[in-house]
């Protein structure tokens, strides 16, 4: 046994009490702060559920065709979504999709400016790097604990945990993309007397866009990966079905819902990746970065 050198109980009690104090005094503030997220998530879910199922399939297949210019992916999408519907997983799939889309959008709102700021300030990069490293190595479960403490179980905390989990790769790749803009192009822009704003929006962001899109792709995938875990605190959707399947030892329920998650992952992964590739071809960087 490891000898008890000091009594750590007061320390632990302090952490617990502190968090409890925060919840008691600031809980309303947190709730209010999270209100926009609740609205975003609910309206996305409502909107998608109100759309006729065939329109959603058509929209996704159409986007896939626009992104890839081939019929393979749209065909896969139609078949697999029809399969999901037949397995009575349609509503769960939509709920999961809504959570993923809301999480990705919110992540973008936070991560893009952070990534840009990081690319421009060496100090900020030095500060943020270890934080991002930590965020990416922490097991995703760990995010759930404080979030649930503050908000209690439900969809919004699930969304918040998902956002925190999905943000690091997007921040990193935005930073990387901007710093990878060829120095000779930057220099030429400089020689024409660009303002910092003209440089950012006219040169850096357009040239970093393929890399940023790769970050969006990663954020989407991580959000989806978080869905199963988030279902434990009330996110619902396909993840909840998987969880129930495990809980009740109903292999079929878990398996089909799991396949549903795979289907969504494939759809969104392929679509965002193809858009990135087309963008890269357009600016002639194909092959240079992959």
């Amino acid at each position: 046994m490891f000898p008890e050198i000091i009594d750590t109980r007061p320390l632990r009690r302090m952490v617990d009490d502190g968090l409890e104090w925060m919840v008691r005094h600031w809980g309303d503030g947190f709730e209010a702060g999270a209100y926009p997220l609740r609205v975003l998530l609910n309206s996305t879910e409502r909107f998608l559920l109100d759309l006729p199922w065939w329109l959603i399939i058509l929209l996704l297949a159409g986007t896939a065709f626009a992104a890839t210019r081939r019929w393979v992916l749209p065909a896969i999408i139609v078949v697999s979504l029809l399969g999901l519907g037949l397995m009575e997983l349609w509503e769960d799939a939509i709920k999961t999709m809504a959570l993923m889309i809301s999480a990705t959008l919110t992540t973008m709102v936070f991560a893009l400016p952070l990534g840009v700021a990081m690319a421009r300030s060496a100090v900020l990069r030095r500060l943020l790097r270890p934080v991002l490293d930590l965020m990416q190595t922490l097991p995703s479960f760990v995010y759930l604990i404080p979030v649930v403490m503050i908000f209690g179980p439900g969809k919004v905390p699930a969304l918040i945990a998902t956002i925190i989990y999905a943000a690091p790769p997007l921040i990193r790749l935005t930073d990387l993309g901007i710093r990878l803009v060829p120095p000779d192009v930057m220099e030429a822009a400089q020689a024409f007397g660009v303002t910092p704003r003209q440089k950012l929006f006219g040169v850096q962001i357009p040239l970093a866009l393929p890399t940023i899109l790769a970050g969006v792709n990663q954020a989407t995938m991580m959000a989806l990966a978080m869905v199963v875990i988030a279902s434990m605190i009330g996110a619902g959707g396909l993840g909840y079905q998987v969880l129930q399947g495990i809980g009740r030892l109903e292999v079929s329920r878990g398996l089909f819902a799991g396949l549903g998650i795979v289907v969504l992952a494939i759809i969104f992964d392929r679509i965002t990746q193809s858009f990135g590739q087309r963008l890269q071809e357009r600016i002639g960087l194909a092959g240079e970065r992959s």
């Binding site: 000779d184 192009v185 220099e187 030429a188 822009a189 400089q190 020689a191 024409f192 007397g193 660009v194 303002t195 003209q198 006219g202 040169v203 357009p206 040239l207 357009r282 600016i283 002639g284 960087l285």
Partner: protein, 337 residues
């Protein structure tokens, strides 16, 4: 445009290296002792308004480093840069932007095109940055694209063009700015000989009309003497000679310069005005302009012993003989004898 005692040392301990240079250490010593790279060492030159000033030197001699000082893409370690009466190094950020937008345009050795924009949007870029209205800038851009011979490529993207075509996009982009000063860093180096020679003539034509101040960089001596009013030769970060093309051909300052001069087709470069006998004004059957090259007059010696030389107003100013021409063509530099 004046560059005064410009020294540029690359590296993070440049002040120490500068102190060593100032106390008389040679460039090699400084580089070996401090690990800093001396890009330019005490370069002074002045470019007159309206002239084409060519800087020539081998690869790595510091030409690109030098030209970047004019629009302050590089800050010198020490020295002054004066352009149109203002001190470029003392400008605030706003002043510097205004200066870059309206007074200097640059053609880059490695083009520096914006890969996500079409050719016409690239050419219009400087005007856009300056805040020109859309119709106007596209019209100007289209005109310059036509001038550099890229009509029909307006909607292409840079990566769809050959190196030479990309270089001409860079050229059109700088010319579209219509600034008083034009900085051209090996602006013709990626062109094939025919187009290159065409662009050189076009530049001279343009210069006759617009009288810009052109700072031109090349490693090709033939190009330098063709377009340069004056030429400066840069060797390893130091200026070794400045002068007119004839100065340099007839009196190369050292063996580095005479190595350049040796490859020159002297018959094409030396103008009869520079070697004629000004006292021989007896009537001649054949006459040539004083800025004709030796190559032009050589065939005439098949029939005549003396050929009259006239200036651009048609006034007789001297004569040349076959002997003088052959003497000038064969003249070896004193260092080589």
């Amino acid at each position: 445009m004046d560059l005064r005692r410009v020294t540029k040392i690359f590296g993070d301990r440049s002040d120490m290296a500068l102190a060593m240079l100032n106390s008389g250490a040679s460039k090699m010593e400084v580089q070996q002792k401090t690990g800093q790279v001396v890009g330019l060492n005490d370069v002074s030159l002045s470019v007159e308004r309206g002239e084409i000033f060519v800087v020539m030197g081998l690869s790595g001699s510091g030409k690109s480093t030098l030209i970047r000082h004019v629009n302050r893409l590089i800050d010198p370690t020490s020295g002054e840069v004066l352009v149109n009466g203002h001190d470029v190094l003392k400008m605030s950020l706003d002043e510097l932007r205004a200066y870059r937008r309206s007074e200097v345009a640059m053609v880059f050795q490695n083009f520096g095109l914006l890969p996500h924009r079409t050719v016409i949007d690239n050419v219009a870029y400087g005007l856009e940055v300056r805040g020109a209205e859309k119709g106007e800038r596209l019209e100007t851009a289209a005109r310059w694209i036509e001038t550099v011979g890229l009509g029909g490529y307006e909607k292409s993207r840079p990566h769809e063009l050959s190196g030479g075509q990309q270089q001409r996009v860079g050229l059109a982009r700088a010319l579209a700015m219509d600034t008083g000063i034009l900085l051209m860093d090996e602006a013709f180096s990626a062109l094939d000989p025919l187009i290159r020679s065409g662009m050189q003539e076009q530049l001279l034509d343009l210069q006759n009309k617009l009288h810009k101040t052109i700072f031109f960089i090349t490693h090709d001596f033939n190009e330098a003497i063709k377009i340069g009013d004056r030429i400066a030769v840069l060797n390893d970060g130091e200026l070794v000679q400045t002068g007119t093309p004839e100065d340099i051909i007839f009196n190369p300052a050292d063996s580095y310069v005479s190595d350049f001069v040796r490859d020159v087709n002297r018959a094409r470069v030396i103008r009869v005005g520079a070697i004629m006998d000004r006292n021989q004004l007896a009537p001649c059957q054949a006459e040539v302009q004083e800025n004709s090259s030796c190559e032009d007059v050589l065939p005439l010696f098949a029939r005549h012993d003396w050929i009259g030389v006239v200036n651009d107003k048609g006034k007789r100013v001297g004569s040349v003989s076959a002997k003088q021409v052959i003497g000038a063509l064969g003249a070896h530099h004193k260092l080589l004898d």
